[in-house]
């Protein structure tokens, strides 16, 4: 019987929140955790910081609440919206997807006539919100407005499918760990960071402000378990992934050792992760101030940065358990 809180997950995943526009998702998380933290604050960039007091080491846990999205750059006479990307949006995954603006306005992504599909680029695409003129469009949307993918949350057996699993699933893991921590030996700062998708920008200032002894990011990682994919020894369903390397960090050997030991001691399924492209909040945290030994617990995720990212419930549960046990150590 799964312990997963589907109502909370659905809320976290379906909420709007591209990088720089995290107000809505921040309020949802704040409401969810307010009875469990000793103190809650929001810093100048918009990072939500929940503190669980304790006498031991100061540990910063980071999950980013922003998601990739698009920003309107121009509206033509017929009301079609030209747009640019916020974070890593591929034209091929965005084509013919539905997108949602903060007020709920929906649109579909279309493209100009192309002789060859390989020439597809965001500059040749547009968003159609079903209007007939610029004036009509401007009643709903303006230049500079942002949108995210619009796909419903699905849970079926062991898998979850949704937009924004990167990294609301990390936020979910952090929230569940915060709720589960009763008396904690360490002082834990749960930080729901902003602007990770545009360069780990929220984690950078949050880490400077928190000044932790150790940093742990919770984020998704790619997998090597789909047909003819790039070689990678991470499989969905094989447990929480303990990161060794990505483009932003070489995990501190002691932190990696600690994570592996805790997983072994508690029989928590885990796998080691070597990610060849991509980075996460720990990349910014570990070089803050005089340096912060840092690591990452990853949730294996197929189709990262698509409207239908996929993770395993079992892996999410392993990640929560691993995080809780580490924080109590």
């Amino acid at each position: 019987m799964s312990k997963i809180n589907n109502d909370l997950l659905k809320k976290l995943l379906e909420t709007f929140g591209p990088s720089g526009n995290e107000e809505t998702i921040r309020e949802i998380i704040r409401e969810e955790i307010k009875d469990y933290a000793d103190e809650i604050k929001v810093d100048a960039l918009g990072n939500l910081i929940a503190i669980k007091k304790g006498q031991g080491k100061k540990i910063m846990v980071a999950g980013h609440m922003d998601e990739i999205g698009i920003m309107v750059s121009n509206i033509d006479e017929n009301g079609f919206l030209r747009f640019t990307n916020i974070g890593g949006v591929s034209p091929f995954t965005a084509l013919y997807q539905r997108v949602m603006f903060v007020d709920g306005t929906l649109g579909v992504v279309g493209m100009e006539k192309l002789d060859e599909m390989k020439d597809l680029a965001l500059s040749k695409m547009f968003i159609d919100i079903g209007v007939y003129s610029k004036e009509e469009a401007m009643k709903k949307v303006n230049v500079g407005d942002v949108a995210c993918f619009y796909t419903p949350f699905v849970q079926n057996g062991d898998y979850i499918m949704s937009k924004a699993l990167d990294d609301r699933i990390g936020c979910y893991v952090a929230i569940e760990a915060l709720k589960a921590l009763k008396d904690c030996a360490n002082e834990v700062y749960f930080v729901f960071t902003v602007q990770e998708e545009v360069g780990l920008r929220g984690a950078r200032t949050a880490a400077y402000g928190v000044d932790p002894d150790m940093g742990i990011a919770i984020d998704v990682t790619t997998t090597g378990d789909t047909p003819k994919c790039k070689t990678m020894d991470v499989k969905m369903g094989n447990g929480a992934a303990i990161k060794v390397k990505d483009s932003s960090i070489l995990t501190h050997p002691e932190v990696k050792k600690l994570m592996v030991e805790v997983a072994k001691e508690n029989n928590i399924p885990y796998q080691l992760e070597i990610l060849e492209a991509g980075g996460t909040d720990s990349g910014a945290i570990h070089i803050t101030r005089s340096g912060v030994p840092s690591g990452v617990i990853s949730i294996p995720c197929r189709y990262v940065h698509s409207p239908s990212e996929m993770v395993s419930v079992k892996d999410v549960e392993s990640a929560i358990e691993l995080l809780c046990k580490i924080l109590q150590k």
Binding site: G224, K230, T231, M232, D233, V244, K245, L250, P253, K256, L272, E273, I274, E276, H286, I287, T288, R289, S290, G291, V292, P293
Partner: protein, 349 residues
């Protein structure tokens, strides 16, 4: 002396992120010439030599002790090891290299290659991709897994080679040649009086984006920071404009990453003491520790010295030992020249 240090340094294995063995060698050589040795949280090693002044300014020297290399990505069913790179490894240089996998114990391995007899015509013209290469350690999967895990660091096995005159070739001279420069500088300073506190920092993780220099500089909060790294040396196929000559002295960097007054002073000192030097024009990002140091805290006045080096990011990197000695001397005289100087005034634009 410096040749022995270099040999020991480049024959030690210290992949980016795993520099502790290299740090031990650095400590052994630096300790006699410094007042204090400190390791920071990232693993960078500072050798501190105190100045005579009551309120000493701080000079940070930075040379990175990490080296590029490989990392275990997967062990296949037959026990062959697939790998990824750490830092800017050129895949063309990897085939048929001898490597060491630093697992539970160090294991030798070779990166194999398809026999030329059975290469298809199209394959002859292409370089093999790293993802298609395998390391053979001579073990089955079950045996290999006893010693090797995912994420284990891998380095190239290579002894230092003495070429003619004072040239040497080997792996990791980028940037252990720079570490040797700091050694020469500390040694020179041991016979001189200087006002400033000198922090000679062997940094970690430069090859993945100067991740060691950033926190080290924050920690030390220097008034002046000088990075010592390697620069492209001329070879027949390279343009004269982008290279310095081997054996003609360290190249002094100039550009946005460099404080003009630090540059001016380095040149003045080189001229005054007849130390050979060359110019290194770097308009934008230098990609060195100097780039990380410059924007630390409220900003650091930075300088950059480059030791000319041929065949960068291969295991046959080649330098001239005289360039190292001259760079060390230049730095020592530069530091002494700051005696009695009001640094705030000197660095004022």
């Amino acid at each position: 002396m410096v040749r022995e240090l270099l040999k020991e340094l480049v024959e030690t294995h210290g992949l980016t992120g795993y520099e502790s063995e290299t740090a031990k060698i650095v400590e052994k050589y630096f300790r006699p010439y410094s007042d204090e040795i400190k390791l920071d949280k990232m693993g960078s090693l500072s050798a501190i030599k105190k100045g005579k002044s009551q309120n000493p300014n701080r000079i940070m020297l930075a040379a990175h002790m990490d080296e590029i290399g490989l990392m275990v990505k997967k062990i296949d069913e037959k026990g062959f090891i697939q790998f990824t790179n750490v830092g800017g490894v050129d895949q063309r240089t990897l085939l048929t290299q001898e490597v060491i996998i630093h697992g539970k114990e160090d294991l030798f391995g070779v990166i194999g290659s398809k026999p030329p007899h059975i290469l298809e015509a199209s394959e002859r013209k292409k370089s093999v991709k790293m993802e298609d290469m395998l390391i053979d350690v001579g073990l089955s999967k079950e045996e290999a897994e006893k010693y090797i895990s995912l994420g284990d660091p891998i380095t190239i096995r290579r002894k230092m080679l003495n070429l003619q005159d004072d040239m040497v070739a080997g792996k990791a001279l980028d940037d252990r040649a720079g570490v040797a420069v700091m050694y020469e500088c500390l040694r020179e300073l041991s016979n001189m009086n200087h006002d400033c506190d000198v922090y000679a920092v062997a940094t970690v993780q430069e090859e993945v984006g100067y991740r060691g220099a950033i926190p080290a500089a924050f920690n030390i909060s220097p008034d002046i920071g000088i990075a010592i790294d390697v620069g492209f040396a001329s070879t027949p196929e390279l343009s004269k404009d982008d290279t310095a000559d081997l054996g003609k002295g360290p190249a002094i960097g100039f550009g946005a990453n460099i404080h003009p007054k630090v540059y001016d002073r380095l040149i003045k000192i080189a001229k005054e003491y007849n130390i050979p030097w060359q110019q290194d024009i770097c308009p934008g990002a230098t990609g060195t520790d100097a780039w990380g140091m410059q924007v630390t805290r409220c900003g650091v006045a930075t300088g950059l010295l480059s030791i000319p080096l041929r065949y960068m990011h291969t295991s046959v990197e080649t330098v001239d030992i005289n360039d190292i000695k001259n760079a060390g001397k230049l730095l020592a005289y530069f530091i002494v020249s700051l005696n009695g100087e009001d640094l705030e005034g000197m660095l004022c634009y």
